[in-house]
């Protein structure tokens, strides 16, 4: 049968039907393609966790739970313990948060309530831009500019004035090296201040104007409005922002590697060199010469991953709580 007659013999609408079938197929394929891309996101996180658990299995099997509490880090005798890096990570992150949280709150308050209207947007943009500066720049600045100042002025002063106090003394006594946990904590604080303050600023901006205006109408001062209205309304999101910064501080590598000193000695003093999980991995991984050594470093990475996962998950849940309430309001 010639082609032309077959075409004419088709029932009307068949071409359209074929086309819609083709479109339906294309739609399904499109949906599968983009769905597969979303699956890659899930697979990346799961893969990262599992591959590190797998890579660290040697260390976990050899040292058992003692891996967490041992302070030994001896590449020659193949004995590795994670306590010093864990301790250093937590201490530097805590110092960073102790400085960064109040300062970021002040900046957010300044940018939402205090600053002249014309200044607010440019300063906020500048701070966001600064949040994008690579951490290696913070590290270099720390090493070349801040460490000498700490070593020559701050550390001797702390040692002389606080070093003899009964409880705090051991924290602040030590030789004026400049590098150490306190320095690393301060550099980290400078690094996370832009993050936390931009989150806090955005969160503060979500408070409905009528809430604030009602409080002002009752005679509240600006501070009272912020403390009694803005903060309680945004509490969960503010905590979320703080945890986001904490996640950054815990996992930050380059900024601390420069100024921490890479020492596996456990000391109480904040002026002495220490180590953090990320810095240990960055310093030693490429040179790790035995499988157990490398496995111990991967195991450290796994611990870091678990801790930051928990911290970031808390941050997300807290931040989400505000946006959900906003959505329902």
């Amino acid at each position: 049968m010639p082609l032309s007659t077959r075409m004419t013999m088709e029932p009307p609408g068949a071409a359209a039907h074929r086309r819609s079938a083709r479109d339906a197929l294309a739609d399904r394929m499109f949906r599968c393609t983009v769905g597969a891309a979303a699956a890659i996101v899930l697979a990346a996180l799961a893969g990262a966790a599992l591959s590190m658990l797998w890579g660290g299995r040697d260390a976990f099997a050899t040292f058992g739970p003692g891996f967490l509490s041992s302070t030994e880090w001896d590449a020659v005798h193949h004995r590795f313990g994670a306590f010093v890096p864990i301790y250093g990570t937590l201490v530097t992150a805590l110092i960073a948060m102790a400085i960064a949280v109040p300062v970021s709150f002040g900046i957010a308050l300044f940018l939402t309530e205090v600053a002249p209207q014309r200044l607010r947007a440019p300063v906020a943009t500048a701070i966001e831009l600064l949040a994008g500066i690579p951490s290696i720049i913070y590290g270099m600045w720390g090493l070349f500019v801040f460490v000498p100042i700490m070593g020559e002025h701050v550390a001797p002063w702390l040692d002389a004035h606080l070093g003899h106090w009964p409880l705090l003394g051991p924290l602040f006594s030590g030789p004026p090296l400049g590098i150490g946990m306190l320095t690393a904590g301060i550099v980290l604080a400078v690094m996370v201040i832009p993050f936390i303050s931009s989150v806090m600023r955005e969160v503060f901006l979500t408070v409905p104007a009528r809430l604030k205006e009602s409080a002002y109408a009752l005679g509240s001062t600006t501070w009272e409005v912020v403390w009694n209205v803005v903060l309680p309304t945004t509490r969960s999101a503010v905590i979320g922002g703080i945890f986001l910064g904490l996640g950054r501080a815990l996992g930050e590598t380059m900024a601390v590697t420069f100024v921490l000193g890479n020492s596996h000695q456990l000391t109480a003093s904040l002026l002495m060199p220490g180590n953090s999980i990320a810095a240990t991995i960055a310093n030693e991984f490429a040179e790790a010469d035995s499988d157990l050594y490398r496995s111990s470093l991967v195991a450290l990475g796994f611990l870091l991953f678990v801790v930051t996962f928990v911290v970031l998950a808390i941050a997300k849940l807290m931040l989400r709580r505000l946006s959900r309430r906003e959505g329902s309001a």
Binding site: A26, D27, W54, G106, L304
Partner: protein, 286 residues
Amino acid sequence: MRASVDRLHRRRRVVNAFNLVASCACALFGLFWLVWILWTTLRHGIAALKPGLFTQMTPPPGSDGGLANALFGSLAMSLVAIAIGAPVGVAAGTWLAEFARRRALGEAVRFVNDILLSAPSIVLGLFVYTLFVRPRGHFSGWAGAIALALIVVPVVVRTTDEMLQLVPATMREAALSLGVPQWKVTLQVLYRSALPGIATGILLALARISGETAPLLFTSLNNQYWSHDMDAPLASMPVVIFQYAMSPYESWQSLAWAGAFVVTTFVLVLGIAARAVLLRNKVSHD
């Protein structure tokens, strides 16, 4: 009675004034450090700039040289990372915004993506090491690019998702009611409307990876010589900066400052460009 009210009033005003001044001080304190860091980078960086920086190879200690191979390596790895990461990110963002808006699975992917967005980058480096470097037995530029792509993906997913959600539903409905299949609606209508936002996301992702050091340390490693072989160890700006800054040689340190200046300028310019793209195209969808 009157006196106590006055006292209370005065105390509230004093507390208010004190706290507001403290907030100004905090803002100044925060900006002071950041300006100080930028100023240091600018001062040391400009002093170390020279024409040979972009044409000469990284030198052995003590002799003269530039950063040409590191610049090339960074450029190559960043471009490959964007070429891999951006399509995946845009596709995943599309799935989130168009197919999974109010589904639990969509929420789960969004959650995981947000975690990936702030996960420590050194962990991603370890992941790529165990996945690619270890089995193949050598460091390579490809591995570095994949590690960077893992950082690109969540940034692009996030912005694509947000930007597509901003496209008004009426636009989708108008196109669909004409009988256009959904994939065509997405590709030809929604992407066109959300393009500035998606482009911003890709620019921000590029800014983010151009300074990333930690994931490259044990994926692409480093290379002292000119190499355009992506299957071999490759030099990159951040890793060279790290190595040179930690070295005791003055010529290396000054090169590190020059590199830091170049990277910082690039990141800041990208950041400003991304914001400009978004601002200029802040179209109303009417």
